[in-house]
Symmetry: C2
Subunit: 361 residues, 2 copies
């Protein structure tokens, strides 16, 4: 496999991106990395780290899409940017997966504009690895690309998420749950009720293991492997996990250093606290796949350091082989056929997916 890496996207680009690639070059075996960006700057950064040059190539791209650039416009106006060049290289078969820590909205728009949507997919989505505290990882979809969704979109998220969890995370028969206000069948808004019916009805013929409605309370303990929700709710789930986690850790540190005895206890436990922190560390789980476009694209966190880039590269290899995309294409077509056979709605709701309401991971 050849990983195409956006060398210029992210808060710490190109230094940390290139450093991560250099580290990865020693352990990816026969796989390759193509770093896209300003050739001189990339070469300069590469020279600072021991790397396996045989595994690394550079694709020159003089321009950069910044975090402040307008998503859809920047793709059109910056044809020489590392993001556009990288996506074009992926489209043209010069690599197997594209990774970027750059502007999320632009990556989403660019993926749709340059690679195109998988037939019958109305809205591509971002899947985010969601670490389960007790161990393991789930996939949350949508993580913020589509603030408002129709039932059909949520069904497609479930299909795409299930396939990704199976092929990339290696989960057997992943459990797909729909985030709702209660677990009973008739819960939530009319839209949620309709979504439940649609997913429940399609699950059988697709081999989808739909476990029904799940409550937000049960998401952190791993009630399901694929967490289906609209992008607004997905954003709230991810941000609440981070916010509650950080404030508890902060409070623990504070409480545990109040008084002499507690401080002695805290000192003894510091190592354990470090392990806990690691559990929250999203960089451990690789990046977030853009699902619903014709080729594998992965969004890495904007603040990715070299370790996150290294992990992102390694974890992306299982996505790069294209099996997930083939399976998504097949299953979504099957749903479309079912819909037509039943005279159901088949029209696309158009619009560039996530062009404007995107949100950084």
């Amino acid at each position: 496999m050849k990983v195409i890496l956006d060398g210029m996207g992210g808060d710490h680009a190109p230094s940390e991106i290139v450093k991560g690639a250099a580290e990865a070059s020693h352990i990816i075996g026969e796989h390759e990395i193509c770093i896209v960006g300003d050739e001189r700057r990339i070469e300069d950064e590469l020279s600072r780290h021991i790397h396996n040059r045989a595994s690394i190539s550079i694709l020159h791209a003089p321009d950069i899409i910044t975090a402040d650039d307008s998503p859809a416009k920047s793709i059109r106006r910056k044809p020489d940017s590392s993001m556009v060049k990288g996506l074009e290289a992926l489209r043209d078969g010069k690599g197997d997966v594209f990774l970027s820590a750059g502007n999320s909205g632009a990556l989403m728009s660019g993926s749709v504009m340059i690679l195109g949507r998988i037939p019958n997919i109305d809205r591509p989505a971002i899947g985010s690895p969601y670490p389960i505290l007790e161990g393991g990882v789930a996939l949350l979809i949508d993580a913020g690309a589509n603030a408002e969704c129709k039932p059909r979109n949520l069904l497609q998220f479930g299909i795409m998420g299930s396939i990704y969890a199976e092929t990339v995370f290696g989960k057997e028969h992943p459990r797909v749950g729909l985030v709702n206000m209660g677990t009973e069948k008739g819960k939530g808004s009319p839209l949620l009720k309709e979504s439940f019916e649609l997913i429940d009805g399609a699950a059988g013929s697709l081999g989808l293991r739909f476990v029904g409605n799940v409550e937000a309370r049960d998401v952190p303990v791993g009630i399901c492997d694929v967490i289906v929700c609209d992008g607004f709710v997905g954003n709230v789930i991810l941000k609440m996990t981070e916010g509650v986690g950080l404030s508890i850790m902060h409070l623990i540190r504070k409480k545990f250093t109040e008084g002499v005895i507690a401080t002695i206890g805290a000192t003894l436990l510091m190592g354990k606290l470090g392990e806990l922190k690691k559990t929250f560390d999203y960089t451990e789980y690789g990046g977030a796949p853009v699902l619903g476009v014709t080729k594998p694209v992965v969004k890495m966190h904007g603040s990715s350091d070299s370790k996150a880039v290294l992990n992102g590269i390694i974890k992306s290899l299982a996505f790069a082989d294209g099996h997930a995309i083939d399976a998504i294409t097949e299953n979504v077509a099957k749903v479309a056929e079912l819909g037509e056979a039943e005279g159901g709605e088949a029209e696309s709701d158009g619009g560039e997916a996530g062009a404007d309401n995107n949100n950084g991971q």
Copy 2:
């Protein structure tokens, strides 16, 4: 003040409810409690606890609305239930506030049907006390009564929440935040953008301290005193706080008892862990007000024990005086006038608020 208490609502009714009332009777001074429910059962429970009989009266109601009853229907079909009798007593001036740990949806429907909405309020909402880990408490509104909301609803939630936080929590000039996917002005769905504009535009003339969009990540650390969102998102925020909190506590307990040294440390820290748990304890903060109806109604958690009931009674006294409701009535009328002056939309979207998409706290 006279607190009307639903003696039969909740998982532990009537025993824990009556026990809580008996405990409260010793400390409420000149205030009174009227327990609504089956007279014999209430008397029987009361006889088990030392109580100040001069502060407690009983209003007989032979029927019970259960957790499984359909919200709107049960109000019509069970006129002799403790919930209906209690709300009618409040309506008729036989008390100043109604507290119930019973069926949330029925309490919401019953409040609207029996007490009526405040003029110009389209959708009453449930405000939930949200404990800030570092100390203090915010009010989240809506906590689950309205899964889908229009911008006008969110503005009204902001007004009601701000007044409640000021009059009941005693916050001076509370900060009102709108939960969104990012803090910038143009973030989120069209509905959220419109809501931002509406609240921002009305804030000046209402003296509302609108701090703009807030991210879910910053909610647990107390970025604002009033957390405005639709009921679906509100439910996700509350449940995520609970879920993440519980799983971290569980993990800490597990990690901290791995190995001898950590176990010694953990033993030294047990007291501190207990304090932490108390911070999460929602029962400390009293119940959740039903806001937007003409009299003060408070929903207590379904699993309320006597301590929660005791706290619920004490905290409800500041709501019982009616000042919050007067201020809400006044401010919402002001917004309606502004809307008419600007030729804005003034029609109600009708329907019984929260009759069907309610959700237990």
